[in-house]
Assembly symmetry: C2
Homo-oligomer: 460 residues x 2
């Protein structure tokens, strides 16, 4: 955006705002899209097929490829030009998972091995448990955790602050000689509900030690035992392992632009899920919402000025190979915006605007300009409360494109109901409010349409 | 209560109310008890020992007998005169439990066999599932459920309205030729959380068919499949069975009355639990709250006018043999009141007043008199919000004594947090608010003391 336009935007009164809006028919069409999105259960119907008939969709699994075929056929049947793009993905196998607390009485623990973890040697691992509060506490224990199993009992504050123990916990404990780690499930609530999710091994560690999630309840039990000065052991038997990488695909559906087909508005989600529950909110809902938004736009009499592209990414959960591969292959294309929905299906608030620049001041200024540019579009979504904008991260799958300079937009929504079911067997369809799912479709479809139709590209 | 006293009570103004109160020192002592109950974690400390060191306590199990020994020793050490009373109890064994939904894809279901259910024959039971809304719907299906597995998918309204499908569902389905039943867990909330509980077989049924609880999530999945017109099967393999009845005990702790030792104020709970979770709220909290109330009263310089008796009943969950046996053996004793805490450990509101008379009008009049009689006692608990009284059922264990004419008082409390964890692995200690547990102890101890101390017996 030139500084003159920026100046005008900053001075803009509500009356002036009209001047920056796209051609009037764009808004009329947006109103039609809004009405259709809010009165159709197309996303929910697709979600039921995906989750009930195919089920969860772990990277490298046959179910994921079932979902790939389903997504391609569904978008084709709904008027989009579709194709598949090859991606090799990791294939981690959960295998057997057993944990038994041996003291003061023997009782089985309800665990989930963390994704990408190694298994235990033959005969399992049996060791005393050390309950750890946080990184500082771990460090202060020094050699005291040698030969022990570390339990990270870190209460949920927000996802970012807590999930680091799941991701990096095995590395830090291994460096101090621990033989395994257990991580309190990353969740604000539990009804005996373990949460899986990805962990990773640093290159410098000598020993890859296994990592499991325990429930909030059983972390609390071990915390109590520890506070009473009791010594107690856990036995872990885990069959987790990798097999060779498997062929998979990003699924692409497109509505070619009528004037600027080479400029693309991309809507993304991830089709893979963890191997528990149905992956209904993570990220089945995101996939079927963007597919439905694509269907509504594909059904219009006149295609949008720019190309709208729907991408169901593969392998977000434990590798991000879908997003990384896509960004490499499509590095030379021009993206007007890349959008993602991947935090459940709560009431949408609007968009998290994500533009990355090396210079922080430049990035902040750009975010401000972009938010001003988007505001007239978001006004159309005020009736459903989805008209808010803030500078924040957008989405994992589109992240590599955003890092290459594209404008990232992540659906910003209420996630109260999301974190308690995230990465669990409880991530199931009946927890989704169909009206909120419709509102998310409306948010995606109206915003994608208006950006694709705008004579100007967003600020960059 | 004589009609003259009743007349006076009905006319009583707040100023008059004083006349009916017990001797002033009783209230002074009650204030001491209140203060001690609200500032001590004695109940929580005992609950941690019971749940963490012994664990769940199924009828007929060695753990239940561990708990019996623990309860006796604990009350003895806290100043009560203790003894055990023999009770033979049923011993139901859960054994293997496996359920697999075979269509449209194979997936394991997270079930719990219902208590007292039979198992499946060798090789299990595999059959088509029929989703049923309620009793009327089942009846309307007639022979259509023959050879099928009936799923009762009944949303939680209140416990009483919903639990009948768990209890009686197998009988009704068996009479129409079904081969097994699945019951949607009796709960207002779920995070992949099956709820067990008791079922029973009617004498007239030809075939005892097995019964399991499924999660709210998986009931919803099967409901969706059914609404889409799909045919689907479930395979059940259940090892549930009874072994011979086992010896167990009611655990009794007593503070002998100084003037009327033959008149008894009884506080009850049940020490047994289901074989999942810790039985922390059902009914560990009730047991340790009444034990703590007993400890506080036993520690007073002067014992109460009447006897106060703490009874930890055995085998409530699947037989009520503790309560039944107790009422038979103690039928000739004089109970001033029998109290129970068995609905969790939420904020106490006061008491459910339970007096049973053949004549309904007489019962209603008696409840009114008793509520008026109790009101001055409850005024002492107004500072903690536990001063409300209503005519309602009291408790299962004390039920047989109440049926023999005793005044039953059940702690009336907030149960919002109780039903979601009731009979699940999620019934664990960390969900209990220690302040609410203290308030419950205060409610029990103050009320028991004041009834025991009152020169008059409650109306009867």
């Amino acid at each position: 955006m030139s500084s003159l336009v920026l100046f005008a935007a900053l001075l803009a009164t509500p009356a002036d705002a009209k001047k920056r809006k796209p051609a009037p028919d764009a808004e009329e069409v947006a109103a039609v899209i809004l009405g259709q999105a809010l009165t159709s259960d197309g996303a929910m119907d697709k979600l039921i097929e995906l989750c009930d008939d195919i089920g969860h969709r772990l990277s490298g699994s046959p179910q994921l490829q079932e979902a790939v075929k389903w997504g391609e056929a569904k978008m084709e049947s709904e008027g989009l030009d579709t194709h598949l793009e090859d991606v090799m993905v990791p294939a981690w196998i959960r295998g057997k998972q057993s944990a038994v607390l041996l003291d003061p009485i023997e009782r089985p623990l309800n665990i989930l091995t963390l994704g990408r973890s190694v298994g235990t040697p033959d005969g399992g691992i049996e060791a005393e448990v050390v309950v750890v509060d946080d990184w500082d506490h771990l460090e202060s224990l020094g050699d005291a955790v040698k030969g022990k199993i570390v339990l990270y009992d870190v209460p949920f504050t927000d996802y970012g602050a807590t999930v680091q123990y799941r991701g990096d916990g095995a590395n830090r404990a291994s460096r101090q000689g621990a033989v395994a780690v257990m991580v309190r499930s990353v969740s604000p609530a539990s009804l005996d509900t373990p949460h899986t999710g990805a962990m990773w091994y640093a290159e410098d560690i000598e020993t890859k030690i296994p990592a499991v999630a325990v429930t909030v309840e059983e972390a609390a039990l071990m915390r109590r035992l520890s506070e009473r000065g009791k010594t107690f052991r856990v036995k872990l038997e885990l069959g987790a392992h990798f097999i060779e990488d498997q062929p998979s695909h990003n699924v692409v559906g497109e509505i070619k632009g009528r004037e600027k087909p080479e400029e693309i508005v991309l809507m993304g989600c991830h089709l893979d899920s963890w191997d528990v529950g149905q992956g209904a909110q993570d990220d089945g809902a995101g996939c079927t919402a963007i597919m439905e938004a694509g269907r509504l736009i594909a059904a219009l009499e006149t295609p949008p000025r720019r190309t709208i592209r729907v991408v169901l990414y593969t392998n977000e959960e434990n590798g991000l190979m879908g997003g990384k591969t896509y960004a490499e292959v499509h590095a030379d294309e021009k993206f007007a915006a890349v959008m993602e929905m991947d935090t459940g299906a709560g009431q949408p608030y609007g968009w998290r605007v994500d533009q990355r620049r090396d210079d922080k001041e430049e990035a902040a200024k750009l975010a401000e300009e972009t938010i001003a540019w988007l505001k007239p579009i978001q006004d159309l979504l005020e009736p459903i409360g989805a008209n808010q904008l803030k500078a924040a991260g957008s989405g994992a799958d589109i992240g590599p494109l955003v890092s290459q300079g594209a404008l990232g937009l992540g659906v910003w929504m209420d996630t109260t109901g999301y974190w308690p079911i995230h990465h669990t067997r409880a991530d199931t369809i009946e927890k989704i409010d169909p009206m909120n799912l419709r509102r998310n479709v409306a948010t995606l479809a109206v915003t994608a349409w208006m950006i694709a139709e705008n004579p100007e590209l967003p600020p960059e």
